[in-house]
């Protein structure tokens, strides 16, 4: 069965420090992978998506970047964190089978920038 792993679960980082959040998927190949950010009262904001190795699409201009070095690995990064980067980050894998485009989520990373 397909599973998605995301770590770390929580992270407290000072302003100006770098960031690296990792997401890996098991049980499928060539998945479409997504990074969402969730801020209170604002729902889920799509940050990046990737349809294959080295292919990254950015939905909003921001202080973050994403990379896909391997088929089932998706990394969210920042060189210098801002206070506004605080939030709950979710990695997702979206299937396109007979069931339609359904998303499977990791457990999320709570990032607090101090």
């Amino acid at each position: 069965s397909q599973t998605i792993h995301q770590w770390p679960a929580t992270l407290v980082q000072p302003v100006g420090s770098p960031l690296s959040l990792e997401c890996t998927v098991e049980g499928t190949s060539n998945p479409n992978l997504y990074w969402y950010r969730q801020a209170a009262g604002r729902g889920l904001q799509l940050l990046f998506y990737s349809v294959g190795i080295g292919q990254i699409s950015s939905e909003v201009p921001q202080n973050l970047s994403a990379s896909r070095p391997q088929d089932r690995q998706f990394i969210l990064s920042s060189k210098k964190l801002l206070l506004s980067d605080s939030g709950f980050y979710l990695c997702a894998w979206i299937s396109k089978g007979h069931g339609g485009a359904e998303a499977f989520f990791g457990q999320g990373t709570r990032l607090t920038v101090v």
Binding site: Q6, G43, L90, A92, G100, A101, E102, F105
Partner: protein, 114 residues
């Protein structure tokens, strides 16, 4: 492009009372519709989905939703809620081709009161 509106940001309800969480969508093409639930500091879990066929969809934990094409709605209902239903609920839409990521509403916070 699709969009989703969840009309209520917070819904308080007494235990064992019925509840309806409202969702309206906008799309120029045929869509798939989803409801997800999120417990504190966790990822999102699929409650139910509408792909085609019967407009009344039954999901996990006793929830159901009805697709109404003329009103472009997909409201979530439960006849009798429990304390454990306290969570954030998200409505989401995707197009049939699955070429675009899921678009989420801003969420509805359901609080069940003993």
């Amino acid at each position: 492009a699709q969009s989703v509106t969840q009309l209520d940001s917070q819904v308080p309800v007494f235990e064992e009372a019925p509840v309806e969480l409202r969702c309206n969508y906008s799309s120029s093409v045929s869509v798939y519709l989803f409801w997800y639930v999120q417990y504190p500091n966790q990822g999102l879990q699929l409650l139910l989905k509408y792909l085609s066929g019967s407009t009344l969809v039954k999901g996990i934990n006793g929830f159901e939703a009805e697709f109404n094409k003329s009103q472009t709605s997909f409201h979530l209902r439960k006849p009798s809620v429990h304390i454990s239903d306290t969570a954030e609920y998200f409505c989401a839409v995707s197009d049939h081709a699955g070429n675009t990521p899921l678009v989420f509403g801003k969420g509805t916070r359901l609080s069940v009161i003993a």
